[in-house]
Amino acid sequence: MANPQVELHIANFGIVTLELDAEKAPLSTANFLSYVNKGHYNNTVFHRVIPGFMVQGGGFEPGMNQKPADAPINNEANNGLKNELYTVAMARTSDPHSASAQFFINVANNGFLNHTAPSAQGWGYAVFGKVVAGSDIVKKIEGVATGRKGFHDDVPKEDVVIEKAVAI
């Protein structure tokens, strides 16, 4: 069966297509699709953009209002998928098993985010898909000007808004 794909329609930027790895990351894939299908990601922003590292989004509306999310999921970082350029992984708190809606796209090979041990320090970040179209769009997002907003660093000065996320 073909892997599910999701299009992120990003206002003024274009469309980024993600392919999700349902086989190696079943929990994260189902979790992401559930947020997509109920419209959670519509009108959310990429709120944390760090060039040479990653771009993170899926948790805030424009104006940095955090959207309520569902229960956190188990961390699947031990699935063998690596945090390589243009892969998509789940963001989280310092608790390894705390990912809910926020995700990030690696814009570099971030080997230090991979799973090394089943410990708080070594769990790493669960990759569950990759960009299959629109990496040039991701590159543009990586290049936007950022600054501090409230308690958050690296926030784009002009909102980078996901108008809608659709499963295709």
Partner: protein
């Protein structure tokens, strides 16, 4: 900040920009070394290092951090294989044995340098070492210390940065490691001769080699939430004020045959902060 109430759920603020190692609370002191450039042709430096590793327990730190270029060159973990015929590999096995013994009582962390970047997982295991990404933030006694070998920040040396990008790529490393040991030895010898010739030709004096770019060092420190960068690579032990309360502390290289000989450990302790401990 410790114990401050946190009434709202923590937002998803990770991944962090840099790998972070949280020191266990019981650690009182850690040692940093780099640029020993261990090689069979220089037994005196190995002897100094052995002397350091075999200090009495009361003088030991709680952990040892090797920030790159422990070895003059590393051409593949198979140099540790017992079946290798060359005399050189037995030197590497001696080094591995010393490290393994030390790691039985003191955790040893290893970061790649520009000479030993091919040291892989099986050699780490054989030496009892844990690998560190470059850079890594060490959270120790309530402060964050940014650790790096330092070569990635020597941006003015554009030839080297190009070379680095090539040899650090997975493709180059796979191709190189697939070559027979003898061929890898020949390539490594060639690269070292080129590098030596460059140093002799353009700038024999280490003070003229490219140094760490201050702007980039500041940027790293700010992104890491750290005030102090500790690095090696440049062979210019010193401390530099980077402004805005930031600084970089440079480790010494080791050379037992230099006049005077150089060998030094940088010790960070809860009690005394940073101290340079000369070994000769």
């Amino acid at each position: 900040m410790a114990g401050a109430p946190c009434p709202v759920p923590m937002p998803e603020t990770t991944p962090d920009r840099f790998a972070t190692l949280r020191a266990p609370a019981h650690w009182q002191a850690v040692d940093f070394i780099s640029d020993l450039h261990l090689q069979a042709a220089e037994p005196a430096t190995l002897a100094l290092w052995q002397h350091y590793l075999q200090q009495p327990p009361a003088q030991r730190a709680d952990a040892l951090f090797i920030l790159g270029d422990l070895f003059e060159v590393w051409i593949g973990d198979d140099v540790l294989a017992p079946q290798a015929q060359d005399t050189t590999p037995s030197y590497w096995r001696t080094c591995a044995q010393l490290l393994r013994e030390h790691s039985r009582h003191t955790p040893v962390y290893f970061m790649h340098g520009n000479r030993d970047f091919l040291l892989g997982a099986s050699a780490l295991g054989a030496c009892g070492m844990q690998g560190l990404f470059d850079p890594t933030v060490l959270a120790f006694q309530g402060e964050r210390w940014l650790l790096s070998h330092g070569d990635a920040l020597c941006l003015a040396d554009t030839d080297y940065q190009q070379f680095r990008a090539v040899v650090r790529s997975a493709d180059w490393q796979r191709d190189f490691l697939a070559k027979p040991l003898s061929e890898r030895e020949a390539i490594a010898r060639g690269l070292r001769e080129q590098s030596e010739a460059r140093k002799r030709g353009s700038a024999h004096d280490p003070s003229l080699w490219a140094d760490v770019d201050a702007g980039s060092a500041r940027e790293w420190l700010q992104a890491a939430g750290s005030q102090t960068l500790i690095h090696g690579h440049t062979h210019r032990p010193d401390q530099h004020d980077l402004g805005q309360g930031l600084r970089r502390v440079v480790l010494s290289d080791w050379d037992a045959t230099a006049l005077p000989p150089r060998a030094e450990v940088l010790r960070l302790s809860a009690q005394d902060g940073l101290q340079r401990l000369p070994l000769c």
